[in-house]
Assembly symmetry: C2
Homo-oligomer: 368 residues x 2
C-alpha cells in the first residue's frame, strides 16, 4: 500500500469510523482501523461486531493494499498534523505516515484477520429525510432500557406499515412513540440497538439536514447510507412488547400546560426531591393551576404553573426524571397531559400535532 491523501479528509473519516471502534474488546484487532486502498480511494472501517462503519476518501494510490493499524494512535497523530498532504506507505509490516516534517511508523495487524462486516443485500430499502430520522431518534432513544436482562428493550422498535413509520422505546416505566408519514415501498418490523441509533444521531448531527438517507433491512442486519458513509448494525432478536395495548383511550383529567414553564418548575422542585429517599415529586392538579411540590427531610419546595383543566382535579406522584426527559425533547410550546387516576399511567402529547405519544407510570405520592 502506498498512497497520498489530504490530512483533513483522513481526520474527518477517522472521527466517523472511530464511533464503531471500542477500546474495550477481547479481540485486539478490533481496536484498529481497517485501511483499504483501491480504485483511487482509501476506505476506512471500524467494527465492534455490533456496529460497523465505513467511509471512503479520495486518494492518489500508487500501490493498492490493505492493513489494520491502532485506531487511537493513528487517529490522534493524524489529527495533530497540519492540514497538508499525508503519505501512507506499508513496508515490512509497518505503516509509515509522512506529512511535512512529521513521520511515524506504526506496527500493523494482518488485515486478513479483520472480521468482515455483514453483507447487506441492497434490496429491501426505504428512504427517509435526515432531519426527520434525527428527530425520531431524539424523541424516543432516552426511553430505551439500560437493563440487559431484557435485551429487546435496549433497542428501539421501528415499524414501517401503511405508509407510516413508527419508532418506539420502552423501559418498563415509560413508553415513547414517534410516528410520521413515510412513502415507503416496504413493510418491516425491526428492533435496532440504541447504541447504533445514538451513533447515527451523532453522524447526522454533523451533516446537512435536507437530504435523504437510504436504509436497507435484512433478517439480521440494517444498513444506513448517509452521504458516503455506510453504517451496518445487527438487529436485536425477539418479539417486541405489544405497546399499543398499553395506551389508555380515555381520561378523567386532562390538562393543557406550557411546556417550558412545566420543565423549569419540575427542575427546580426536583433539586430538593433528589435529596430525599424516594426521589419523587407531587403534581397537584387544581382548577386553574398545577402545584409541583417536594417535601423531604431538609426542606420543602413548590412551584405553581397556570393550566387549563378538563375533568377532575388530581394529586399524583412522579419520578421527575421521567417528566424532564420528555419535556426537553417534545416539540410543542403547549402540551396535553391525560390522567385516569393516581395509580394509572399519564399520557403526554404535543398540542400542535399527533405524531408523538409518551406514557409514564406514576409513583406513590410522597408523604401522603
Amino acid at each position: 500500500m502506498k498512497l497520498i491523501c489530504k490530512q483533513s479528509d483522513l481526520a474527518n473519516a477517522l472521527n466517523i469510523v472511530q464511533k464503531a471502534i471500542s477500546s474495550k474488546t477481547t479481540l485486539p484487532i478490533l481496536t484498529g482501523v481497517l485501511l483499504e486502498a483501491k480504485n483511487g480511494s482509501l476506505k476506512l472501517t471500524g467494527n465492534d461486531l455490533s456496529i460497523g462503519i465505513e467511509k471512503s476518501i479520495e486518494a492518489e494510490i500508487s500501490e493498492e493494499g490493505t492493513t489494520v493499524v491502532s485506531s487511537r494512535i493513528f487517529g490522534d497523530f493524524i489529527r495533530k498534523l497540519p492540514n497538508d498532504k499525508v503519505e501512507l506507505t506499508m513496508e515490512n509490516n509497518k505503516l509509515s505516515i509522512e506529512c511535512f516534517k512529521s513521520h511515524i511508523d506504526l506496527v500493523t495487524y494482518d488485515a486478513i484477520e479483520y472480521p468482515e462486516l455483514p453483507q447487506v443485500v441492497e434490496s429491501n430499502a426505504f428512504k427517509i429525510n435526515k432531519m426527520l430520522l434525527k428527530n425520531m431518534i431524539k424523541q424516543t432513544i432516552f426511553a430505551t432500557s439500560q437493563d440487559e436482562t431484557r435485551p429487546i428493550l435496549t433497542g428501539s422498535y421501528i415499524e414501517l406499515l401503511n405508509e407510516k413509520i413508527s419508532m418506539v422505546a420502552i423501559d418498563g416505566f415509560r413508553v415513547a412513540i414517534r410516528t410520521s408519514k413515510l412513502n415507503t415501498p416496504i413493510e418491516s418490523k425491526i428492533v435496532v440497538p440504541a447504541k447504533t441509533l445514538n451513533e447515527i444521531n451523532k453522524i447526522l448531527g454533523s451533516s446537512e439536514d435536507n437530504e435523504q438517507i437510504e436504509v436497507f433491512i435484512t433478517d439480521k442486519n440494517i444498513l444506513f447510507k448517509i452521504d458516503d458513509i455506510k453504517i451496518v448494525s445487527r438487529l436485536l432478536e425477539g418479539e417486541y412488547v405489544k405497546y399499543s395495548q398499553m395506551i389508555p383511550n380515555e381520561f378523567k383529567t386532562k390538562i393543557e400546560i406550557n411546556t417550558a414553564d412545566l420543565l423549569n418548575g419540575i427542575e427546580r422542585v426536583s433539586l430538593l426531591s433528589r435529596e430525599g429517599k424516594n426521589n419523587s415529586i407531587k403534581l397537584s392538579i387544581k382548577e386553574n393551576l398545577l402545584e409541583i411540590s417536594s417535601n423531604v427531610e431538609i426542606g420543602m419546595a413548590n412551584d405553581e404553573i397556570p393550566l387549563k383543566l378538563d375533568g377532575n382535579t388530581l394529586d399524583i406522584g412522579f419520578n421527575p426524571k421521567y417528566l424532564i426527559d420528555v419535556l426537553k425533547v417534545i416539540e410543542s410550546d403547549i402540551i396535553y397531559m391525560e390522567f385516569l387516576a393516581n395509580i394509572s399511567p399519564c399520557i403526554i402529547r404535543p398540542q400542535n400535532n399527533d405524531n408523538y405519544t409518551y406514557l409514564v407510570l406514576p409513583v406513590r405520592i410522597p408523604n401522603s
Copy 2:
C-alpha cells in the same frame, strides 16, 4: 432575616463564594454558605478553613440577620430561578426563598457555629494589575508539586523585593520563575497554596482586566481584594527552596526555535512515547534542525524543526509533559533553550523579554 435581592446578583455571588466551599468536609456546616444581612447588603461567605471567599450584594433589608444554608441546593435552586426579585425570609430556623411562583424552604445551620474567617489587618499591602497577576499565576502554577510529602512545594513562592515581584513554582523536576517590575511599598516572602491561586485565577478570568487588585499580607494569611470580592487564604509555613542557585549561568548549547512548531512536534511524537514504558522523547540538536523522536514497541515517530544553533550539537531526553506545559504558556513566538550536557538541566526563556525562566531536568535518553 428578611430581604429582597436580585436573582442574577445572588446567582453570581454564589458562583464565586462556592469556589471556597467543599462538599467533602468533616465539619458539615462548611458545606453551607454563610448569609449575613446588614446595612443594606447581603454578604455571602464560603470557607473551607484553607481559603475563604466573601462577596456582598445589594439587598432591600427589612430585617437584619444571619444564617447558614446548604450551599449546593441553595445554589442550584437560585440558578434555576427566573431573573426576577428573590425574597429570603428566616422563620422557625428555616430559610424560605420566594421568587415569582417558586418557593423553597430549607433547613439551616446556626450561624454562631460557622468558623470565622481569619482577620487580616489591612496594613501590609501592595497593588497589582489583574492581567499581570493572572499571567504570573498561569505561567508558574503548573509547576507546583502535587506531592503532599513536601507541603511547601504545593504552593507558589511570592517574593516582593527591590521594586520587583517574583512568583516561583518547583516540583522537583522543574522550576518556573516569573518576575515583573512592581512599585510596591513593602518587602515580603510568602508561599501561597496553589489551590488559592487557582481559584483566584478563575475569579480573575471573569472580571475586567485593566484594574488593580489589592493584596494584604500577615504572618499567617493573605487577603486579595478583587472588586468587591475578598479572598482570604492561609499561607504555607516553612522555608522555601533556594531556587536561584539551581539556575546554571553558562551553557554549551543554545538554540533559538519557533515555540508553536516545537509544541506541535512534541505533542505528535509524545502520542507514541505515551505508549512506551518510560514515556520520554529524545531531542537531537543538529546544525540546522531539531529532531524530536520516540521509539517504542509499537512503532517510532519523529519530527524535524528548523533551529538556530549556538554551540555544540547534543542528544538529550525529556518527559514531554514537562516541555508541553511550558510551551503552552510561554508568551513568545520564539524561545531560547540552553543546555550544558545531557545530564544537566535545560533552561527555557522567551526571546522577547527576560521576565520568565523555566528549568527542566532531562531523563535518560530512551533506547540509547
